[in-house]
Symmetry: C2
Subunit: 318 residues, 2 copies
């Protein structure tokens, strides 16, 4: 079965942009021009859902011409309850209509039939009664957390097999204290995050794809460049979803070790650095939608140039 | 500030039931009598949201007289998108109106401002613009996952401090493969789950409560009774949320080690064993609402008797 990992790789080559735009719409940082239309709405959560979607729509309209994928961070939608989830659903749908790969950043997990419920909700189909199953969120990739163990990950991998979808499993995250659990060295001399990497590599044997890459990817923070190089050696044909670029402090040269020589194997996320880049040129009270969209385009272009230059220095060209 | 952990302890003593009823409404297992009213509804997700809430409402009406708390598992709502989240919101609200403590079982986590977004959504207030903040889900306790490290947990603990709420951090979960990460022995000879327990114990110093118990609790599976005893020694004044009883195979005697001598320190979850107990007496096609509610009451009563007897044998009485 065709898998989204092949579509992602094809799009990375086409756009020459191993970049995913994080759709983390923090209300307080959205320009006022997106809010005016809804300022008299009585239900604040309903108003915010509209604001978040309108804001995302403009980002998507710019991003779909320049990058292969977007990554809505579900927390920023879920925080506004069922209304927020409407904004999430509309965002996923619109991004897919515009040809973008959608990575649902939810870091979900649980055990048994609960893990299966999450897996079906995001990557498969859900039971609506009388033997009928329909897609729910229907994202292309989902981020998942491994703390509960391999049996908690099985339902997600099984949905990937069934539906040609993918996951990114947390391996080495970009935050300062990510080592609390992840860097512990076990009785065999392996770090916890290395064990997860080995697990991912092994599970990938189940998949055969056109580009040879596995749909079971790994979250590997840009802020730990040395660890990325080690992880690349364990997971040769897995995609790294790389957060931490820009706002969290990692530079373009930090992320080179995440890539393979074919220019594939990694997709670098930027959220605030792109969607709130407008702040460098105008105040949120006066920024127009045109100015806003221009700032998104410029930020993506400059990130792309930085990454392509850094990769070219390592002999990686598209 | 008054904390929900004191309310929980008071209710456990009052009801003599250290039990939480898991609200995991799997559509295919709900009796037909809850579905008939909505069978002609065109929007299937809307129909299901109504079914889930009506079903939960009857469980809550029984449970509120017998136990201190309910634990909706968010996956079973989230799987039906924004409609499902309406059912979740209505369930939380109704359970609280009925005087029940609500444990949101979401196993959420992330880093930085994303973790803060989840923490505010479930345990605090969310920004609706113009400096105004309002509660969103407003549960009493939330389950959270620790893989990302201590800085990912900070925002949740900070909301607990601010709002008198609590969390249950995954420590040793009930599933067969929970040991994949959790049981690894680190370079200091400590298991990963023991490190989390030590962290929880230390963070608890920030809290002073009436009953002396910390609102930073731990998820400790009933299926690992020996490990529970060890964890009880590390976390003396923390509440253990104990899954795995009944359907997952743990017995009443297995859960005794989770309790302190005062009869507090643990709350045992049962989901399927209570909410789908009706299957022992009638078929889902013919079960009436009265029969259903009676089955819930009987299942809770019998679980209560089993647990109280097992605890009494260890000299623990309410």
């Amino acid at each position: 079965m065709a898998n989204v990992v092949d579509v992602l790789n094809k799009k990375i080559k086409e756009t020459k942009a191993p970049i995913v735009v994080g759709l983390d719409p923090v209300l307080g940082e959205i320009p006022d021009c997106y809010k005016e239309k809804y300022s008299n709405m009585e239900n604040k959560f309903e108003a915010i859902a509209n604001i978040l979607f309108d804001f995302n729509k403009d980002i998507i309209d710019v991003a779909c011409k320049l990058v292969p994928a977007v990554k809505p961070q579900i927390a920023f939608y879920e925080m506004y309850g069922s209304w927020g989830m409407i904004a999430f659903e509309k965002t996923v749908k619109y991004a897919k209509e515009k040809g973008l790969i959608v990575i649902g950043d939810a870091k979900r997990n649980d055990i048994g039939n609960t893990a299966a419920a999450y897996a079906k909700a995001f990557l498969g189909k859900v039971d609506v009664g009388s033997g009928v199953e329909v897609p729910s969120y229907d994202v292309d990739f989902l981020t998942v957390s491994p703390y509960l163990g391999s049996d908690s990950l099985d339902p997600f991998i099984s949905e990937c097999e069934k539906n040609g979808k993918g996951v990114f499993i947390l391996v080495k995250t970009s935050n300062p204290k990510s080592g609390d659990i992840q860097d512990k060295v076990d009785e065999n001399g392996n770090k916890i995050y290395e064990n997860i990497a080995t697990y991912i590599e092994k599970e990938s044997e189940k998949f055969e794809t056109e580009t040879g890459y596995s749909p079971i990817g790994a979250v590997v923070g840009a802020t730990y460049p040395e660890q990325s190089i080690g992880l690349r050696k364990i997971m040769k044909k897995n995609i790294f979803l790389v957060p931490g670029y820009g706002a969290q402090g990692a530079s373009a040269s930090d992320i080179c070790g995440n890539f393979n020589e074919d220019g594939l194997g990694a997709i670098v996320n930027s959220s605030r650095g792109i969607i709130f880049a407008y702040k460098k040129v105008c105040d949120k009270a006066v920024c127009t939608k045109e100015q806003y969209m221009e700032s998104v385009e410029k930020a993506i272009d400059s990130m792309k140039t930085e990454i392509l230059n850094a990769l070219a220095q390592k002999g990686i060209n598209y």
